[in-house]
């Protein structure tokens, strides 16, 4: 009986408080302090991100002539050119094909890697995590040049494979999509590992034992119980990896070379070689838009499929 009494008392005391609180009696008074406090950060964000983006978007509407330079007109000519020309289709398709393959490979490698890492014992776990994060600690240029050395027709990989007798002629890694995908996967896997790791931390360790006790084989436990619960981690990892792979510049530039262009290197070339800034800007804006559409779309799809895990 005492608990019932207590709850009634408590509600009696607490219910009126919000009604007499300042929010209902003076709804027009706004507390501006939070906005004022976040103003410096907002200003920084606006100058460094929003302004350049808007300027790029505006620039992409200008037109360019070899003799006249950038003309201050507002037309969609650049976008029409990209839409009409097969060359641009090819570049954009390649960009997203590479990004998709890199994302897939990162998920296939990164998710099991995170799971294995979590099950390791104390000293080894830290050491292996450091090795996994290693690529992020090395400068992008030296890491990519390292891959270039390994990939070349007289590089270590081809020489090794030929020495073993697996192949007769060297495999083309340099200036191919395969090479770009391998090098990008190498550097982007850590992002997948970290985000899957984070969602594994939220997993009840007893859940796996529960599935085992119900007669599930270890692999079934992984597929039916662990995997569905780390989907949020794989998804957020995939978003990071896809966005970074689709807009990667240094790796495609060095491994892909001057001819195997992706959107980022294309925009770069339009800006600095052809000097067609408006066209370059249009490529950059389209890359951003396509990235957002793909990422938001996939996110929606997966979240709907695995609704219960995301709640």
């Amino acid at each position: 009986m005492t608990t019932v009494e207590d709850t009634r008392m408590a509600t009696d005391i607490h219910t009126p408080t919000p009604a007499t609180g300042p929010t209902t009696t003076r709804p027009e008074t706004r507390n501006w302090t939070p906005y004022l406090l976040s103003l410096p950060a907002l200003a920084l964000f606006a100058t460094l991100l929003v302004v350049p983006l808007v300027m790029t978007a505006l620039l992409s509407l200008n037109s360019f002539g070899f003799y006249t330079g950038i003309e201050n007109v507002w037309r969609l000519d650049n976008y029409l050119e990209i839409v009409r020309d097969d060359y641009f289709h090819e570049v954009f398709l390649r960009t997203f094909r590479i990004a998709f393959l890199v994302t897939l490979l990162s998920a296939v490698i990164g998710a099991p890697e995170a799971y294995i890492l979590r099950r390791m014992r104390a000293p080894w776990r830290g050491i292996c995590l450091l090795i996994v994060l290693g690529p992020l600690l090395i400068s992008v240029v030296s890491r990519t040049l390292g891959w270039a050395l390994l990939f070349g027709s007289t590089g270590l990989i081809n020489q090794g494979l030929m020495g073993v007798g697996l192949i007769a002629t060297p495999i083309e890694f340099m200036y191919t999509e395969t090479g770009v995908v391998i090098a990008l996967t190498h550097v982007l896997v850590p992002f997948m590992v970290l985000s899957v790791w984070a969602s594994l931390q939220r997993l009840d360790p007893q859940v796996e034992n529960a599935a085992l006790s119900l007669g599930a084989k270890p692999f079934t436990v992984l597929r039916r119980v662990v995997l569905p619960q780390v989907v949020p981690g794989i998804l957020s990892g995939s978003i990071i990896v896809f966005a970074l792979a689709a807009s990667a510049f240094a790796t495609p530039a060095i491994i892909g070379g001057r001819r195997l262009k992706v959107a980022a290197t294309l925009a770069y070339d339009e800006f600095l070689n052809t000097l067609n800034w408006p066209l370059g800007a249009a490529v950059a804006v389209l890359l951003l838009a396509a990235n957002i559409v793909i990422i938001v779309g996939c996110n929606r799809l997966v979240e709907r499929r695995y609704k219960q895990v995301f709640e």
Binding site: N209, S213, G215, A216, Q308, E311
Partner: protein, 351 residues
Amino acid sequence: MPYLVLDSLTKRFGSWLAVDGLSLTVEKGELVSLLGPSGCGKTTTLQMIAGFLDPTSGRVTLDGADLLAKKPNERGLGIVFQSYALFPHMTAAENVAFGLEMRGVPRAERERRVAETLQLVGLGAFGDRHPKRLSGGQQQRVALARALVIRPSLLLLDEPLSNLDAKMREEMQVELRRIQRSVGTTMILVTHDQSEAMALSDRVVIMNKGRVEQIAAPQAAYDQPASAFVANFLGRTNLLQGVVSGDGRERRVAVGGAVWPVGEEVPEGPGVVTVRPEKVSFVAGSGVPGRVQARVFQGTQWLFEVATDAGPLTVIRQHDGQPLPAEQDSVLLGWRPEDMRVMAGQPAASP
């Protein structure tokens, strides 16, 4: 013939002995509790039976077959975990169906048995809910149904009620006992809650520091504790200093000025006398003299703190209208000889 046999089961983590030579036999259909404070080895014992931990030495046989030779997923045991460990991405019915699916039970029979078991735990209408949309007590029931539906040869319960609030816990205790009666599954319950163990079990195994202190029926363990630890752990008790002496034929124990006869088995010298607070009464004539230090009204009963020469004594008397002493009154305390236990040694500081 005993159903489950644990034969000097031992688990060592480095230099720490978690479970030290535990031997226990359980009959079919029995509910046995492993009871003890945290770190006493009860959960480790359960995990060894379940197969999540390998014992350092010892044997476990279930229905005559060596259990340790089997992998955890081949043992066919039902386990209810402290955290429930439900699969959050599956509905209650899918959770319950999982074990049947793993056994290749055909869909029609699976659905029938899932519905039946959910009905048994009182969740017939909640099959399509996900665990997050169920209350703690309902999740507990799903966990129980999931373990029961596979008709386990043995059901292991690891602190199953510790995450529930007091009212819910009492309700589930009754429920668990009802289900155990109707299904007849042999159960091992691990708990640190002595009232839970006493309410549910046929027998309790009281453990301390990896060793078994006593195996007995709840009432027997309460009335005749084998050690001061058991007396103290199972409910409230008074630990008093006494002296055992004998004159050849009869042995007696002297406590704070009063004398009781004791059995032959108690050695002479200083001894510890344990007696439950509710077994102590205020007497006239002869008894342990003391002075009432405090008197607290607790609704159905009165609680007294009485200072005596043998140490402080707690007395519980029913609130049944009989006259009771006031604070600072001088009183005489007495109890029946069969209500006390005498053990050799000095009373340790109560835990």
